[in-house]
Amino acid sequence: MSATATSLLLQGLSRLESKRNGHDAVWLQDLRRAAFQWVLERGFPTAKDEAWKYTRVARILETPFEPAQPAEAVASRWLTSGAIDSLAGDLGGTRLVFVNGYYAPDLSSLKKLPKGATVRSLAAALADKGESLEPLLSRPWREHPHAFAALNAALAEDGALIQIPAHTEIEDPIHLVFLSDGGKTPRVSHPRSLVLAGAGSQATIVETHVGAGTTGGSYFTNAVTEVLLDEGATVAHYKVQNETETAFHIALLDVRQQRDSRFTALSVALGSSIARHEVQVRLQAPGAQTTLNGLYMPRNEQHLDNPTLIEHVAPHCTSRELYKGVVDGQGRGVFDGHIVVRPGAVKTDASQTNKNLLLSASAEVDTRPRLEIFADDVKCAHGAAVGQLNEDAMFYLRSRGIPQKAARGLLTYAFVGEMLELIQVESLRSHVEKLVASRLPARGVEPPAGDVTEAP
C-alpha cells in the first residue's frame, strides 16, 4: 500500500476516534478497528486484483483527502431546498439531504410515512439504539472483503436508515441526496445507508450523488448501501451518480433477497473522474427475482466502471441484467458482469446483456460477462456488443434533411432511450432525461417526450 494511503488511513481513524470518543458504542469502536485493521493488512486493490482489473485507484489513494467536517454542512449557505430540486430533482416524497456526508435537516423534507416506517439519519439512529444495527453494519465487508467497503465500515459516520415494516407500502419514492461541495481542500466522505424491507413491503429508493460548489475542487465519495429484502418484499433502487468531473466515486450496493422478493436496480453513471458503482446481489431463497439495469456515459477522460455480481444461491430464482454504455471523447466504460450459480441452485434463470456505443475513435469499452455455473438444470444467457452508430441509419436521417450532428444525437438518444423508459418514477425520469440530453449533441428540436401525446 502506498505511504500516502496508509498515513491517510491512520490519520482518518485517529481523528475519528478522538472526535467520537465517548459517543460511539463499544461494538462500533470494535467494528471500526477491525475493519481498519483489515485494510492495513490487506491493502487496497491493485491491477492484479481480478475484480479491479480495469480501475486503477492510485490516483484516489495519492490524493491527500481530509475528512469532511460536519460544520461545512452548515457553511454551505447558498444551498437551499430549491437548489437541491434543480440538482437532484424534486420527487415529491420524503427527502433526506446529506451535505459532504452529513445529514442536513434544514434541506431535508420528511413526509408522513405509514405507521412503523422509519426514514432517518444513520448517525441519529446509532446514537439512539445502536446495538441492533451491529450485525447489519459489519456484514458487507466481512462477507465480501473489499478495501473500500472496509474503509467505509471503519470511517462511516452518517447516511440513511430506512425501515419498512412488514406488509407496508411506501408509495412516494424515498430520495436520498448526497451532495458534495468540492472545496479548496480535497474532502472524503463515507456515506453508509441501510434499507430494511419487511415481508411483503414495498418501497422505491432513489439515491442521488451530486457535486456542487464553485471551486471545482476534488472530493471523494466512498459509499456503501445495503438493502435487505424479507419474504415477498418489493424494492426498487435508483441511483444517479452525477458527481463533478473532478471527483472520485466508489460505491457498493449490497443486496440480499429472501423468498419471493423482487428487487430492481437502475444505475445512471454520468459524473466523476473515476467512478466505480458495484452491485452485489445474493438470491438466497427460492423465488427471488432481481433486475439490474445500468447506463454509463463516460466522456472526456472519465472512467466509469460497473461491476455486478449476482449470486444464485437458492433454486428457482431469476435474474435479469441490462447495461448500456455510451462512450465519447477519451472516456472509458467498463462492464464486468459476474453471475455465479451455486451448487443446488437448480432452475436458475439468468440473463445478461451489455451493449455499448462508441461515439469517438478514442473512446474505449471493456465488457466482460462472466458466468460460473455449478448447478445443473439452469438457464443462463449473456450477450455483449460494442459498436458505432449505424451508418445506414445516419444516411437515412441526413437524406431527410437532419444535419449530421443532430442525426448523431437522435440515434444516440434512441440507444439510451430504452434505459430511460425503465425509470418508473416519472419525476425522476424527466430529471434524468434532461441530464442525459444535455450531454448529447443537439438533436435540433425538443426531446421526443413531447411526441408521446401525439400517439393516436
Binding site: N390, Y396, S399, G401, G444, E454
Partner: protein
C-alpha cells in the same frame, strides 16, 4: 431541373456507372429501367449524397453543383430519395423523426418550425394519401413494418417533405398489386408542374400506374436507349438481353 453529364461512379475500385448523362425538366416524370446490377440504385444513392462512392462527372440541380452538397443540404435544396430498403431505426418515433426532418428543412429555408400540434395536422392529412394507419406514427421508424408498409412510409414522408426532385428507387419491389395501387396514387397526387420525378424500376408494371413522360434504359452503367412510355412496353415483351450485350460492347473503348 436536373442535368447529369458523363457521370462515372466507382465503389471499391469497381466502376458501376460509366458515363451516364440525363436531363430532367421540371414537371416531368422519367422512368429509369434496367436489369439487376445495371447501376440504377447506385444512381439513386449518388444523387442523394451517399458517401461510399467515388464520383466524377457533373450533376447540376437547379443550375447548382449537386455533388458538392452533403446529403442534408441536398434535402434542404429539395431532393428526396424514396429508399429501396428503408432503414429501421429502433427507439426513434416515426412522427418525431419526420417532424425533426421537416423542421430541419423549414429552419434551413428560413421558415418557422411547426409545433407538435400543427405538424400532427399536416401528417394526418398526408397519411390519408397513402392510406396509412395512424398507429404507424407512434411506432419506431420502419421497425417491424412489412415491406409494403415501409414503402408507404417513404411516400408518406415524401408527401410531408414536399421535395422538388423525388427519386423513387424500386418503390414497387415487394409490393402486391393493392399496395402498388395505393403507392402509385400517392405518387400521382404529388405530380406537379414544379416537381420532377425519377422513377427507378425493374418492371414495367409500376408504369401502368405512374405514367412517365420519358423512359430510359440503363445497362452496364450508362443509358443505352431513351424513348416515351411505349419503350417500357417493348422491354416488357423482349426483356433486357439485347441492351446488356449492346452495353458491354459500347462500354469497351
Amino acid at each position: 431541373m436536373l442535368q447529369i453529364r458523363n457521370l462515372h461512379v466507382k465503389v471499391g475500385g469497381k466502376e458501376i456507372l460509366r458515363g451516364l448523362s440525363l436531363e430532367v425538366r421540371a414537371g416531368e416524370v422519367h422512368a429509369i429501367m434496367g436489369p439487376n446490377g445495371s447501376g440504377k440504385s447506385t444512381l439513386a444513392q449518388v444523387l442523394a449524397g451517399h458517401e461510399n462512392y467515388d464520383v466524377t462527372g457533373e450533376v447540376l440541380y437547379q443550375g447548382k453543383d449537386l455533388l458538392a452538397l452533403s446529403p442534408e443540404e441536398r434535402a434542404v435544396a429539395g431532393v428526396f430519395l424514396a429508399f429501396q430498403y428503408p432503414v429501421e431505426i429502433p427507439g426513434v418515433g416515426n412522427l418525431y423523426f419526420l417532424r425533426t426532418a421537416l423542421n430541419a428543412l423549414r429552419k434551413q429555408r428560413g421558415l418557422e418550425e411547426l409545433d407538435a400540434m400543427d405538424f400532427l395536422a399536416v401528417a394526418k392529412e398526408r397519411m390519408k394519401l397513402v392510406e396509412m394507419d395512424q398507429s404507424f406514427m407512434s411506432r419506431s421508424v420502419n421497425e417491424g413494418f412489412s415491406g409494403g408498409e415501409k414503402k408507404r412510409n417513404e411516400i408518406f414522408q415524401m408527401a410531408v417533405l414536399e421535395p422538388t426532385l423525388a427519386i423513387l428507387d424500386e418503390t414497387d419491389s415487394g409490393l402486391d398489386i393493392d399496395a402498388l395501387r395505393v403507392v402509385a396514387r400517392g405518387v400521382n397526387a404529388l405530380r406537379s408542374q414544379d416537381r420532377a420525378m425519377l422513377v427507378i424500376t425493374h418492371y414495367q408494371r409500376l408504369l401502368d400506374y405512374i405514367v412517365p413522360d420519358r423512359v430510359h434504359v440503363i445497362a452496364n452503367g450508362r443509358i443505352v436507349r431513351s424513348g416515351d412510355k411505349d419503350l417500357a412496353l417493348e422491354l416488357e415483351k423482349h426483356g433486357y438481353a439485347g441492351f446488356e450485350q449492346g452495353g458491354v460492347a459500347g462500354a469497351t473503348p
